[in-house]
Symmetry: C2
Subunit: 180 residues, 2 copies
DNA sequence: GCAGACATGTAAGCGGTTACATGATTCC
DNA sequence: GGAATCATGTAACCGCTTACATGTCTGC
């Protein structure tokens, strides 16, 4: 049982999904490839932490709709109470930025502008997700007892992180362009 | 040549270091274990991107002091100009927080307080590093042409990130403690 | 006609973690 | 007496990425 297995349990606990669906829903929690997700789903099923229902579709390939079992929710519940591993960030940009003194300022400016472009796009994507939640009359993101609450907080958190990154890039660009 | 190899080149380009030293200096760029660093140093040496000098010590084990070669700096310089891979964050806390609705609010509060404690400690550590730079009369972190510039910006960036995390935890704790 | 979404999987290989091995000195 | 620091490495294993395999429908 690794982190990804628990992330999968967390998603499946909210609503039954296919492995393919999981690939998208995990985006907010723990980025993973489908080639990683499918074997883990099989193992979770073996351990009876999830079970699936075969959905036959026309015009589309058949799919497996996964549900959590009571055993699965229980396992997740106890795991949450353990102290989490420390976060790890793998950001190539940081390595490149660290060594910009070896190049001229144009390279730094390009690096920063490229990063801004990426974070702007990501921010837009997550803003749309938030909008969907806010416009859905069946969802109240402020109700602390429901699962929407934490998802809403993580979505808005992401947008804030992206804003942080955009602001930082602007700050550094201003410093670089300053003539002194 | 993976990201870590370039991170190592980036550190060695600033000042000659031992593999053991690298373990600490990489903290700001790309966290790595010594068991990963030593084999990469050997490969970089084989490729003539770095070379080393044996330093015999008394009372301490002997060490290898690594230097970049011209070939190494050149390799790093060209790599910086390529578009960096997108950042990856692996944060177990996020998975746990996502599923707090399965538990009671005390678990969430514990999770957030634990996170605050960790980030406070990290912030203190990096604040000390910044202080060292600011108090060193031989270092001018505002000089854009020198390598201190980018290191200073990455250090202060880190402190800002930790402050962001601390603020976010406080925001969520306030929401949870609100009686409505 | 071709890219992309939908859908599930396997296999090879790379990157990173943990454990093992060795050994002196310093600090509590 | 034990933990931490300094110092270099190897080996096993786990996690993740990339490539491969297969097939239909939709939209450009």
């Amino acid at each position: 049982m690794n982190s990804l297995a628990y992330a999968i349990l967390g998603v499946v606990s909210r609503t039954p999904v296919s492995g393919y669906d999981l690939g998208k829903r995990l985006e907010l929690l723990w980025a993973a490839n489908l080639s990683q997700i499918y074997p883990i789903l099989s193992k979770l099923e073996e351990k009876e932490l999830v079970r699936y229902e075969l959905i036959e579709q026309i015009g589309k390939p058949n799919k497996k709709k996964y549900y959590v079992t009571e055993k699965g929710t229980q396992k997740l519940r106890t795991w949450i109470q353990e102290i989490p591993a420390e976060p790890i960030i793998r950001d190539e940009f940081i390595i490149k930025f660290y060594s910009i003194w070896l190049t001229d300022s144009e390279v730094a400016i390009q690096l920063l502008n490229n990063r801004k472009k990426i974070y702007l796009k990501k921010q837009q994507h997550f803003s749309e997700e938030v909008k969907k939640m806010e416009e859905d009359p069946t969802i109240d993101p402020t109700d602390k007892t429901l699962n929407h609450f934490s998802r809403y907080l993580l979505l808005t958190r992401r947008i804030r992180i992206f804003q942080f990154e955009l602001d930082w890039c602007d700050d550094v660009l201003r410093l670089i362009n300053q003539h002194n």
